[in-house]
């Protein structure tokens, strides 16, 4: 929690009251590998800030296949924002790929922060901007880069991920088949 407060304070001042409120609405939790934080189809009202570990969000299509949306490592936020924003049941499953520590927030209580502590709004807006930038980059990369280039960027972004993520997690994140991922890896190992 201290790390998160430090991170917020690096962007702007946080009043003592806001800091106390953040403490009061958060819970530090540790989940083991394979534990599910949000399950597709169930109600969702939690947002997680990852302090350690690796967490994956994915959707399951009507045929039962998984498609990875996001990997969250240290200092990343993860939840099902579609469900929270639309106030509907979860469209994603959020699962730990290794033992992970998080700070868990109730989404509604976190939203109250805006009214109670206007200074927090700046942090939240910056956070949202970074999130939009990350999504835009992901879409543009998908549109204009080769699978091999996308894989290179992915490894830069998540240097240790291959220790925890299965091949099909990564392949589905990159939007390629597992065969293509294997081929790309073989080609890279030859260079």
């Amino acid at each position: 929690m201290k790390e998160l407060i430090k991170k917020i304070k690096s962007d702007q001042n946080l009043s003592q009251g806001a800091e106390a409120y953040l403490f009061s609405i958060s819970k530090e939790k540790t989940f083991s590998k394979g534990e599910v934080l949000i399950r597709q189809g169930e109600n969702v009202n939690k947002i997680y800030f990852v302090t350690d570990g690796c967490i994956r969000s994915y959707c399951i299509d009507k045929n039962g296949k998984e498609h990875t949306l996001q990997f969250a490592i240290k200092n990343w936020w993860i939840s099902d924002y579609i469900a929270i924003h639309n106030d509907e049941s979860a469209t994603l499953t959020v699962e730990c790929l290794k033992e992970s520590s998080v700070i868990e927030f109730n989404a509604k209580e976190l939203n109250k922060m805006f009214a109670l502590f206007p200074e927090y709004e700046y942090f939240q807006r910056k956070l949202l901007e970074r999130h939009v930038v990350s999504l835009h980059k992901r879409i543009l990369n998908q549109l204009q880069l080769t699978a091999s280039e996308r894989y290179d960027l992915f490894l830069k972004q998540y240097p240790d991920i291959e220790q925890h993520a299965r091949n099909y997690h990564i392949a589905s994140y990159l939007g390629i088949t597992q065969e293509s991922l294997s081929r790309i890896r073989v080609e890279k190992s030859k260079k």
């Binding site: 399950r39 039962g64 099909y168």
Partner: protein, 327 residues
């Protein structure tokens, strides 16, 4: 709920009927699966024809088939390894047979989460054939560089066994007919023997393991191709004495001819009767997710055409598994 039921022993078209039946109720250790897909196997056909009524008698009517994939919608009080909403697959135990239905109750011990990278249809195709191959080859301790002969490489069990043996690093011989040679090679077999053109006994020498999926003369012939001290594992040949004891036949002796062959080659002979096992399905899940094993489907039928699916199975010409999409 709707279910495809066996109403009597006999011809497939005369014995299978769609019935409206009660949704199954679960026991403390069961999960209730909303069925997405079921798969059919030769044993399902044999049960309908009445060929197994001595070994596996069934009450009438009984819902057909064992292989299933779907979503857990209810769980018993003592189930703590699954949650409602989990996507799972299973080869259900005999007493819970009946996967060609909208719901099936299954003991959680026989269930595993399905592989995440394949569809419900593909997942349903794996359990029975996969468990048969895994339990057979694991029993004989297949390992890197073992030379193994797998009969009938294009069958449901054979095609899985080839991939499993290759994943373990073995050198794989397999037999198949001319039309399937290339297809079986693509599964990873090192040497494919076209039994219509070649005699496998002149090609395979000193094998460490023979996986006998054909029985009859193939069981005794296996001793001609194994090395001294080799291992034969069969899913269709005569029972071995240990397996016979499990079936309550304490005085059973291995047929004399077979016993002599075992002695002469200082070999081991083991009959494997596949048993439902969720942990083994978990191993298969990992191997599928790592693409060491790929499900092979011949055709997917809609629920309403389940009887046609059985007619296709009866031709014996399917390459890979026959799956029924339930929901």
């Amino acid at each position: 709920m709707k279910a495809l039921q066996i109403t009597k022993y006999g011809d497939i078209k005369d014995s299978l009927v769609f019935n409206e039946v009660n949704k199954p109720t679960i026991q403390a250790n069961d999960v209730l699966i909303e069925v997405k897909a079921a798969a059919i196997n030769p044993i399902d056909k044999s049960i309908i024809l009445g060929n197994l009524q001595g070994l596996i008698p069934i009450p009438f009517p009984s819902t057909s088939a064992y292989d299933v994939s779907g979503i857990i919608v209810e769980k018993g009080a003592e189930v703590n390894n699954f949650e409602i909403g989990d996507l799972v697959y299973s080869r259900v135990p005999q007493e819970q047979m009946g996967t060609i239905a909208e719901y099936v109750a299954v003991t959680s011990m026989a269930v595993s989460k399905k592989p995440g990278n394949i569809s419900f249809e593909e997942a349903a195709s794996l359990p029975l054939a996969g468990l048969t191959a895994l339990q057979s080859l694991a029993h004989v301790g297949i390992k890197e560089n073992d030379v193994v002969l797998i009969h009938a490489g294009s069958g449901g069990v054979g095609s899985f066994a080839i991939q499993y043996a290759k994943a373990k690093g073995a050198y794989v011989y397999t037999t198949t007919s001319t039309t399937n040679v290339e297809w079986v090679k693509a599964l990873g077999a090192d040497q494919v023997i076209d039994y219509k053109k070649e005699d496998y006994k002149t090609i395979v020498k000193n094998a460490d393991i023979v996986f006998d999926t054909l029985g009859k003369n193939y069981t005794s012939e296996a001793f001609e191709v194994i090395k001294k001290g080799g291992k034969i594992v069969s899913v269709v040949g005569p029972l071995d004495e240990e397996s016979a004891k499990m079936f309550g036949m304490a005085d059973y002796k291995l047929p004399e001819e077979l016993a002599k062959l075992v002695d002469a080659k200082e070999a081991s002979y083991k009959f494997i009767f596949m048993h439902p096992n969720g942990a083994h399905l978990g191993e298969i899940k990992s191997m599928v997710e790592d693409e060491k094993i790929k499900p092979i489907i011949d055709k997917v039928y809609p629920f309403s055409e389940s009887v046609e699916a059985f007619a296709h199975l009866a031709t014996g010409r399917a390459k890979g598994k026959i799956v029924i999409k339930i929901n």
